[in-house]
Symmetry: C2
Subunit: 306 residues, 2 copies
C-alpha cells in the first residue's frame, strides 16, 4: 500500500485489503521515486537480496537508506564502496548500525573514532548471540544437538541453524566491521576455522537434524575437559591489521570474553589511541526490541531532530 500522506494505524487493515496492490521490489522503488518526498528514508527490515539491490537507485536519488539487512554491506567490496560513495556525493545517509550487535553502538563508535582522526588497528569480538547461547548452554544434561535445537526454539537461531553454525553470519558481520575499519575485505578473504565437518552443511535440513547428534559425544568430552581447566568455548571474530579470521577458541577465566552471558555480544576495539587497553562494548547482540530501537535510532540521526 502506498500513500504520500502516511498510513493511519487505526484502519490500516481495511485500507490494505481495499487499496493494497501486489508488491514487488521494482514497484516499491518506482512508487517511492514517484512520490519524490524531501529528506525521506527507506527502511529495510528484511533479509532480502532483491530489496538490498534497490539501495543504489534510492541513494543516488537522495533517499537515505537505513537497513537491518546485512546483504548489501557484506556484498562485493565494489558494491559496498559504491553505495558509501554515492551516499557521500549526494549528501544522503546509508546507515546499517544494526547489522552488527543489533542496538549496540558499534559501527557509530568506530566511525566517530575514525572521523576524529584515530585509526582502528584491531577488533576482537563475539558477534553471534546464537553460537554464544549454544556454547553457554552445553552441560552434562544438554548435549550439542539439543543446545542447537534450544537456540532455534528460542528464536536466537535461524530456522536453518547452519547459517549460524557455518560461521556465515559472523563472517558477514566481520567483513562489515573490517570495511568500516578501512580494509578492502571480501567474505572469501576471511579465514574460517569451523567446528563441525563440512558434510553437515551440504545435506538437507532434515538430514542435518538426524545426523548432528553424532557430534554430541565429542563436544561433551571437550566440555568436560575445559570445565576442569576453567575454560569456555567462544566463537571469536578477529580483524588484525587487515587480516580477518573467525573460529572457535578456548578462553580462560579472566579473559574479557569468559563472562559473556546468554546470547550477548562483545567487541574490543583497539585503535592508535585506545591501545594499551581497548574500548569494550558489550550487551544484547540480537533480539527484536533492541534491533528495532537501533533502526529507529539510525532514522532519528538522519532526521537530525534531537
Amino acid at each position: 500500500m502506498f500513500s504520500r500522506d502516511g498510513i493511519s494505524l487505526e484502519n490500516y487493515f481495511e485500507n490494505l485489503m481495499s487499496r493494497g496492490v501486489k508488491s514487488s521490489p521494482q514497484l516499491i522503488r518506482d512508487e517511492i521515486l514517484k512520490m519524490n518526498i524531501f529528506n525521506s528514508v527507506f527502511v529495510d527490515c528484511t533479509a532480502s537480496q532483491a530489496i538490498s539491490e534497490l539501495y543504489e537507485s534510492l541513494i543516488s536519488r537522495n533517499i537515505s537508506v537505513v537497513t537491518a539487512n546485512k546483504i548489501a554491506a557484506s556484498s562485493d567490496y565494489k558494491n559496498y564502496h559504491h553505495l558509501k560513495e554515492t551516499a557521500r556525493k549526494t549528501g544522503t545517509k546509508f546507515l546499517f548500525e544494526t547489522n552488527v550487535g543489533a542496538g549496540l553502538p558499534i559501527i557509530n563508535t568506530m566511525n566517530s573514532l575514525t572521523n576524529s582522526g584515530d585509526k582502528i588497528v584491531k577488533l576482537q569480538a563475539v558477534l553471534s548471540g546464537t553460537l554464544n547461547f549454544i556454547f553457554n548452554t552445553l552441560s552434562e544434561d544438554v548435549p550439542f544437538s539439543k543446545a542447537i535445537k534450544m537456540a532455534v526454539d528460542a528464536q536466537f537461531a535461524e530456522p536453518d541453524p547452519r547459517i549460524d553454525l557455518s560461521g556465515l553470519d559472523v563472517t558477514r558481520k566481520l567483513v562489515i566491521l573490517s570495511r568500516e575499519a578501512g580494509a578492502q575485505v571480501e567474505q572469501e578473504n576471511v579465514q574460517k576455522h569451523l567446528f563441525i565437518p563440512q558434510k553437515y552443511f551440504e545435506s538437507t535440513l532434515d538430514e542435518f537434524w538426524s545426523t548432528i547428534p553424532e557430534m554430541d559425544e565429542a563436544f561433551e568430552n571437550r566440555r568436560k575437559k575445559l570445565d576442569k581447566e576453567g575454560k569456555k568455548l567462544r566463537f571469536i571474530a578477529t580483524y588484525d591489521n587487515g587480516l580477518c579470521e573467525v573460529g572457535l577458541h578456548e578462553v580462560e577465566k579472566g579473559h574479557p570474553f569468559y563472562d559473556l552471558e546468554g546470547s550477548n555480544n562483545i567487541i574490543m576495539i583497539t585503535t592508535e589511541r585506545y591501545n594499551e587497553y581497548p574500548m569494550v562494548i558489550k550487551g544484547y547482540g540480537a533480539g527484536a526490541s533492541v534491533t528495532a530501537a537501533g533502526v529507529f535510532s539510525d532514522i532519528i540521526s538522519i532526521a537530525n531532530i534531537r
Copy 2:
C-alpha cells in the same frame, strides 16, 4: 586573536604577538556574535565557570556549543534545562560527550536509547580514572599517600587531588548522566560515602600533603584483608530510579568492575530493553588524546559532513 578568515598555523605566534588583544569572556562573546558566521560552533576546552556562563547567549543566537567543561551541565538543574531547551528551540546543538568518560560513547548512547523510546532505569559506573588508578596502585610498597602522589605526577589527578578524593568530580559526572537519563537531580541530592575524613578537605593543600600519610596504615590493613578475600576497592557511582549515590565499595572477583585496569572507566546501562543483562561500555575515561577526539567527534556531528 580574532579572525573571520581563520588563523594560519604557520605564523600564528607572530600574528598573536602583533595582532593579539587582551581577552575576557565578554570580549570573546561579543566578537563571536559580531562575526555572525552561519553554522558555527563554540568549543570550550577550559574548566572555567566564566566561560561556561557564555553558553546561554551563544546558543540563543544559533551558535552550537561543544564543551569538555563539566560546569554548565552539572550546575543548577534549571540552568542545565534552560540550555537544553534553548538549543532545542533554536535548532542548535549543546554537546558535552567528553564530560563523562572522555571519548567513550556514553552520553550519545544514552540519548540514542532514550530517543528510540527506551527508558534508562539504572546506571552503575566507575567514572574516576584517578581514583581507579589510586586503588589499583595500592600495594605493600605503595601506601595510600604515595599512590595519590603518583596519580598527580602522572597527571591523572588535578594538581589539588582533593577534587577527585572528595568525590566532587564523580558527583558532577553522575549528576550529568542522571539528567540525561531523565532525572531532575542537583549535586546536593547525591548521597556521598567518602573514604577519608572531612578535615582533609578543609585544610590547605600543604597541610593535606603533610597529614594524609596518617591514613596509610588503615588503607594498608584494608588492602591486605581484601587481598586475602579476593576483593578490590572501587569508587562506584550509582543512579537507580532517580536516586543517586557515590561511594567506595568492595567488589569480588567476577564482578564486572573487578578487572578494571589502570585509570579506565566503565559504565553499565540498564534500560527497559537492556534489562537482564545491561549494556556495558569500558575504556580510557581520561587523557588528552581521547578527550580531544571526543570533542572533535562532537564538532563533526554538528557539521554533519560524514
